[in-house]
């Protein structure tokens, strides 16, 4: 046995693996691996999907993915930069003004929106108060969609006209829902939605008017992030950027909590997976201590023993790899190699002789024998002990193994 060729070592490893599988030795480990990987994969995948769905739904409360809001219109270069990145754009102007009808006046919250509004979600309207809602669309030039309470306050009905500043608009439909309707000061008064092209004609926007200009953007995550990054560098003092998190405080808070919960669930799944794999690998390694010591007694060198078990485990790690394609082999190998490598490679043949009543000092508790100063027999016991029972006695160590394994995967 002066030199064992790699082919013979591979053959031995494969035969040993097949015998282990036949003898149910590795089934528990394989099962632990499969469950761990399947659970972490499922939770990760489900979490990602759920998070994506929540983000999408949350963006409807904003009417867009990203909003540039200010008390003055956005600069041309800000608009052109977004369009150059392929982002979809819509413009909304909101202000409070008095709306006049034949029977009186009413302070109202006016929203002037262009044809692209909204970029996320849909406006809903009805032909008459409490009639069936119809999604989509928006007021055409010369028309206004109003909330039912404005009709009641002014004693008007659909089809009548109202004056917004110097412009007379015909109330064509009843506004029942707008996706980005916020719970703020503007929502205290009845909503009037008009077309942005009519805004100039109303003459209500004057220097010093309290107006909110909102530029809505929608697009893919990467260009959106790029646009956001560019905008943040040269935002004016009166401008700010809103996304699904800060566009609506309640939604943003709930979203944040949900994300944290999902992240925590994923992390716990990974930790449990790591612990399960580490424990089963540890058990398997402990059961292999005698076998590896026997191999050493039969004349296998440390390197040959290490090679044999590494090959054995590389073979075994492929098995779950075939079934769960993205990672299973590597965590199994990582966890088990830590235990097996230390145990099998450094376990000296005398380790097998626990049945030999070896001298009392060699039977001192393993941790009491420091590696460097102890006798070889005690040292090899110490090393093997540390590797095999590390996870068992110090769960934190097992947990520490999980993130690198996860990262590795």
């Amino acid at each position: 046995m002066t030199h064992m060729p790699l082919s013979r070592l591979c053959g031995l490893a494969l035969r040993q693996l097949l015998r282990d599988i036949r003898a149910s030795e590795v089934r528990v480990l394989f099962f632990a691996l499969l469950v761990a990987v399947a659970a972490s994969t499922a939770i990760g995948y489900f979490g990602a999907r759920l998070n994506g769905a929540m983000q999408l739904r949350a963006s409807e409360f904003l009417g867009a993915d990203l909003v540039l809001q200010g008390s003055a219109p956005a600069r041309d270069e800000q608009i052109s930069a977004g369009k150059a990145l392929g982002l979809r754009h819509a413009q909304v102007v909101e202000f409070t003004s008095v709306v006049g009808g034949d029977a009186g006046i009413q302070l109202s919250s006016i929203k002037a929106a262009d044809g692209a509004y909204p970029l996320r979600g849909q406006v809903r309207s009805a032909a008459a108060p409490y009639a069936e809602e119809t999604p989509g669309g928006g007021p055409a030039p010369g028309e206004a969609w109003v909330e039912p309470r404005l009709l009641a306050a002014l004693g008007l009905s659909v089809g009548d006209s109202i004056d917004v500043g110097m412009k007379t608009l015909r109330m064509s439909r009843v506004l029942t829902y707008e996706p980005d309707r916020a719970n703020n000061f503007y929502s205290l008064t009845p909503r009037v939605m008009m077309n942005l092209t009519d805004l100039q004609a109303t003459g209500v926007i004057q220097p010093g008017s309290r107006v909110s200009y909102r530029d809505l953007w929608r697009g893919e995550a990467q260009p959106l992030a790029q646009y956001r990054e560019g905008l943040q560098k040269n935002l004016a003092a009166n401008q700010r950027l809103l996304d699904t998190r800060d566009g609506n405080r309640q939604i943003g808070g709930a979203l944040g909590k949900a994300e944290r919960y999902l992240n925590m669930a994923s992390l716990v799944a990974v930790l449990l997976a790591g612990v399960a794999v580490a424990m089963s690998a540890s058990r398997y390694a402990a059961r292999r201590l005698d076998a590896s010591a026997l191999l050493r007694c039969l004349g296998l060198s440390r390197h040959q023993a290490l090679g044999l078990y590494c090959l054995n485990w590389r073979c075994s790690a492929w098995w779950p790899h075939w079934r769960v394609p993205w990672s299973a082999g590597w965590p199994s190998w990582a966890c088990s190699a830590c235990c097996m490598g230390c145990c099998q490679a450094w376990c000296r043949p005398a380790e097998s002789c626990r049945h030999w009543p070896v001298s009392p000092p060699a039977w001192l508790p393993w941790p009491a024998s420091p590696c460097r100063r102890s006798q070889p027999l005690a040292r090899c016991r110490h090393c093997a002990y540390c590797a095999v029972t590390c996870c068992r006695r110090h769960p934190a160590a097992g947990w520490c193994m999980a993130p690198p394994c996860w990262r590795w995967a």
Binding site: M1, T2, M4, R8, L12, R15, R19, D20, R22, A23, E25, D290, A291, L294, L295, R296, C297, L298, G299, L300, S301, R302, H303, R348, P349, A350, S352, C353, H355, W356, P357, V358, S359, P360, P361, A362, L364, S374, Q375, P376, L377
Partner: protein, 227 residues
């Protein structure tokens, strides 16, 4: 008897303990010829198994040297000693040390496979038939009795045709009748194959079957005896 196969010269073993250094073996010497048989007897804790470990190259002496099959084990590192063991040494353990995941045939095949022997299966089958287990080839250790397991272990030990066979309490876990049959088998194979036998035992009857016997007391050789 043939030339010396196993020589120990002034062999000592000292291990550190909380109370200071503890000497387990005191300057022990012996010389064993090819084909000879030696029994090491003594009370528990007298150093029998430590001596066996040193003679087999499983452990290093604190002083003195061991020459096994012409190889001085002192300067050899662990891997080189493993190589010497592979070529010249076989073991029989008290608790058999069969691999549970392997059946009887595969357990006996193991040293032959490690040695790269192409006829491992046939050799193992022949040996198992020799020890009377020809019909239990596919049985795993759990399906075998203690005596049968030890017979498999003996077949495994002789499989690689070692020059020296070390046996630690080979009948220690067996009843007297089974132990007698196992020792018969051990000595039969020893005679057939010309193997040198070194065994540690508490069993005086088994010890007396060896040509030579040494008795240890607290690490001292007190009674070298030629049987």
């Amino acid at each position: 008897m043939g030339p010396s196969i196993l020589v120990a010269q002034h062999l000592s073993k000292v291990v550190p303990s909380a109370e200071g250094d503890l000497t387990i073996l005191h300057a022990l010497s012996l010389d064993l010829a090819q084909g000879d048989s030696l029994a090491i007897v003594g009370a528990s804790g007298s150093g029998k198994s430590t001596l066996l470990g040193l003679l087999a190259g499983l452990d290093r002496p604190s002083a003195g040297k061991v020459i096994l099959a012409g190889h001085d084990l002192g300067p050899l590192d662990e891997d080189q000693r493993a190589r010497v063991r592979a070529e010249h040494v076989g073991f029989v353990f008290q608790s058999f040390q069969l691999l549970d995941s392997l059946n009887a045939l595969e357990n006996v095949m193991l040293p032959l496979e490690l040695d790269g022997r192409r006829d491992a299966r046939e050799q193992a089958r022949t040996l198992l038939e020799r020890v009377g287990l020809g019909k239990r080839l596919s049985h795993t250790p759990r399906q075998l009795s203690g005596g049968e397991q030890q017979r498999v272990a003996i077949a495994r030990a002789f499989a690689a045709q070692p020059a020296v066979l070390f046996a630690d309490e080979p009948t220690g876990n067996l009843d007297s009748h089974t132990g007698e049959r196992i020792s018969d088998l051990l000595f039969e194979l020893n005679k057939e194959r010309g193997t040198t036998l070194v065994l540690v035992t508490h069993d005086e009857r088994l010890a007396r079957r060896c040509r030579r016997l040494i008795r240890l007391e607290a690490g001292h050789l007190v009674a070298p005896v030629e049987a």
